[in-house]
Symmetry: C2
Subunit: 477 residues, 2 copies
């Protein structure tokens, strides 16, 4: 396809996207398709001959749009916000148009240096220590794996260049809580620590945050048994309830045992743009790494996950490669992001952030985040005041975990679970809103995660009416 | 930014991209900036207030474009082709516009099912075994790490769910050659095998391909010493010379020792669309996994790397997670790509492939690949026929490795190295073309990698004249 064909099709697609975004409020939030329905509409083989662009556009309307859950919908309250602001989409389009090759500084200096600058902008905006440096990764899962790989290597004096993990005698241990994101367990497994060496430290029963005394005890026992504590993963906002582990109390313990401290702030990182929310990571100056996802609440089109480290030397030592065909005369003077993560090549992802911050402005972003925090507090207030309803965890961010507990079911966990799943499913299959059922203390609850870009108070009010009607209807049976 | 603002800015950006792509042939191929030049043009802080879109467009022209090496240029012959076809850019724009959340099937059924279908289209187009299944990863580095993690776990009976790699007694070993991509060594290190347990098996001095007899000997010695062979990484087209390891002879050895066979066909995978090139992976039906990058020669906008596996059960067993908030009623019936790799969330990357294959058509893609193979053979013929010039490795794909060896320097490696680097640098800094210096047998050579989408025979002819002039000028010096 040449530039002129692209121009014509591109204009059509821009109009299609603008129209689509405008009509999202009229679409069902949850995709209404059954397994195999989308695949069944596609031919078994790739076309030998080129198809006209109109056919692609028609398939977007008839196959793709009905086949996705509309996470840009103002009444999307599922999982976590997954905003894809149109300002960042423009940055992504610029990246596609330029088609740069991001393997070294030399292959695309601007790709590297714009990333350095916008990552520094966001460091300053979030109040992280001035000496920390960052890099864009794809997701928090990868960032956590990278942090744990570096922690593993630092703890073993860089065993990767010798006999590897098998040559190490004393087992390495990692600490987090059962409320940490599933990617922490996955990263522990993939990094080769073994699940037996992951300690799920006890939490406070009210806040679901890690108990420093329980961590201290686990550390003592492990060290006494000849194990070596390698890392602690601290959640600044868990996925289930946005619980905040007490970083400032964890850091001194970690320092005593020489552990790497990784902060998973995937969701909460956006809140750090608000000075009044910086308490979420009190103690951060004693940590080693922090990860957060602008592709969640902040609104940057995915994938865009930031990993900050106190000292990139550890990262580079573990991740660097240096084949002859990638060497250049300026190697000592420039940042080589290939040595800051797993992939060699990278997209020009910094453009998404650059465009978003410049086209939206930070002031407007902060106002949107504060709007969402207000809406969450408002909803929590409504729930707490309503008979039969409970808020199950502190509302620290923009997520409210709630349950409807009719008098007759309060002490019948099975009946209560069936009731909760029934009314949540009724809300979701209606298409009017989306919420996420989740287990808390072994019982089903419902997470309402506020923060889609276009969610206003009226949408939260409408959701609250929907929840009440659905619960009443389920109770009536 | 609302839909109408996006519409206006989007149309401007589409025009900007079309104009930019049209004028690439007039731009210097290699970025002409010095370290820090791009960063120095950007403000130290993010803007509090929104900026007009015109300012972003102006910065693309004045800062970004001069700051990237133009890999879409018809005289880009560096590293490997890094095409970003405009057809795939449209698919990527559709993905950005839709802004789907790719964490589970439920969150975006079409994201999963379109990926299943296009990955199957490409399996059929490349002649891989009918029972194999694939998934899109970001890069070959990640795909290789994923393969080696699965190999590690299969070899240890899934030690990740027990005490991890440290609890295993007999050391695991991995086999490849010194010509394998640097990402193989990195993956071995990151997976915890340790570099001491990586065997760089000897190669044929003419073809740079792995010697099966050397592999057999290494395996025997390791097993005799109590080590456990876990994996062999077979290069179908190395980065340095596109050498092809003899897969069909390696597979029986791997099977005898129960090793995982991973095929790195990052570059060569595109060639498998040509039936006459399928010999590159003769023996593939006995392998366990194969990775190739449509974001190279095929022309799909990065990042887009395909990982195929003979049996996804191993992959899923190693990579799966199942938190309560991601469960749904259809879990048993659908593919959950979160369990096929490291990240939980994924972009709707399948749209890039879907758009490209449909808008360009497979016939035209095959014709382009054959054009490039012809051009490489033509260039190799010219080089071989020219006095003082040598082709240093078999031209199996679209890459020609060459050297100018003036009579006076033929037996002076230091002088020859200085000469090679001087004329290659002269070509590159001129901006007229880009080639990549690379070490071969410890001596500098120059890789000419043909396959930019718009590279025609006339561009290769022009390159050949440039090389000759530069070498003569350097010799005259």
């Amino acid at each position: 396809m040449g530039p002129e064909e692209f121009r014509a099709a591109g204009h059509e697609l821009i109009d299609w996207i603008a129209d689509y975004r405008a009509r999202i409020p009229e679409l069902p939030v949850q995709a209404q398709v059954v397994p195999g329905e989308v695949a069944g509409k596609l031919p078994a083989n790739a076309p030998e001959e080129a198809e006209p662009f109109s056919r692609l556009l028609a398939d977007l309307d008839s196959i793709v749009v009905p086949g996705v859950t509309q996470v840009q919908h103002p009444r999307y309250f599922g999982w976590f916000p997954a905003n894809a602001t149109l300002s960042s989409a423009l940055g992504d389009l610029a990246s596609a148009g330029i088609g740069a090759l991001g393997i070294t500084w030399q292959s695309a200096p601007a790709l590297t240096e714009v990333e350095e600058v916008v990552v520094e902008w966001l460091r300053e905006l979030t109040g992280l220590p001035g000496s920390w440096q960052g890099v864009i990764q794809d997701t928090a899962s990868t960032a956590c794996l990278v942090a744990l790989l570096v922690a593993r290597e630092r703890a073993t004096g860089y065993s990767e260049v010798r006999g590897g993990l098998q040559a190490e005698s004393a087992p390495l241990t990692v600490y987090t809580t059962e409320h940490a994101h599933s990617s922490v367990r996955k990263a522990v497994a993939l990094a080769g620590f073994g699940r037996d060496n992951l300690r799920l430290v006890g939490v406070d029963p009210e806040t679901y945050a890690m108990r420093p005394d329980a961590l201290a005890k686990a550390l003592e026992e492990d060290v006494k048994a000849g194990r070596r504590p390698a890392a602690v993963v601290v959640s600044a906002g868990t996925t289930g309830t946005t619980a905040v582990d007490p970083l400032a109390e964890i850091v001194p313990l970690a320092q005593r045992y020489g552990m790497w401290v990784h902060i998973d702030a995937a969701m909460a990182g956006s809140a750090l743009l608000l000075p009044e929310m910086r308490w979420l990571v009190d103690g951060v100056e004693g940590a080693d790494s922090l990860n957060w996802n602008p592709h969640k609440w902040l609104g940057t089109l995915g994938d865009c996950s930031l990993l900050y480290v106190a000292d990139p030397a550890h990262l580079i030592r573990v991740m660097s490669t240096n084949p002859s065909y990638l060497r250049s005369a300026v190697d000592g003077e420039v940042t080589q992001y290939k040595d800051w993560g797993i992939p060699l090549g990278r997209r020009f992802r910094a453009l998404k952030l650059w465009f978003q911050l410049r086209l939206d402005g930070v002031e407007a972003i902060r106002a949107r985040l504060r709007r969402d925090l207000d809406n969450a507090r408002w909803l929590a207030g409504q729930v707490e005041a309503a008979p039969g309803w409970r808020v199950l965890a502190p509302v620290v961010l923009q997520t409210v975990v709630l349950r409807h507990e009719p008098a007759g079911l309060r002490h019948e966990p099975d009946g209560l679970n069936a009731h909760t799943l029934a009314w949540a499913d009724a809300v979701n299959t209606s298409g009017a809103a989306l919420v996420t059922p989740s287990l808390l203390d072994g019982v089903w609850s419902v997470r309402v995660s506020i923060g889609a870009e276009n969610t206003e108070r009226s949408d939260v009010e409408q959701l609250w009416r929907l929840l009440q009607h659905a619960a009443e209807a389920a109770e009536a049976g």
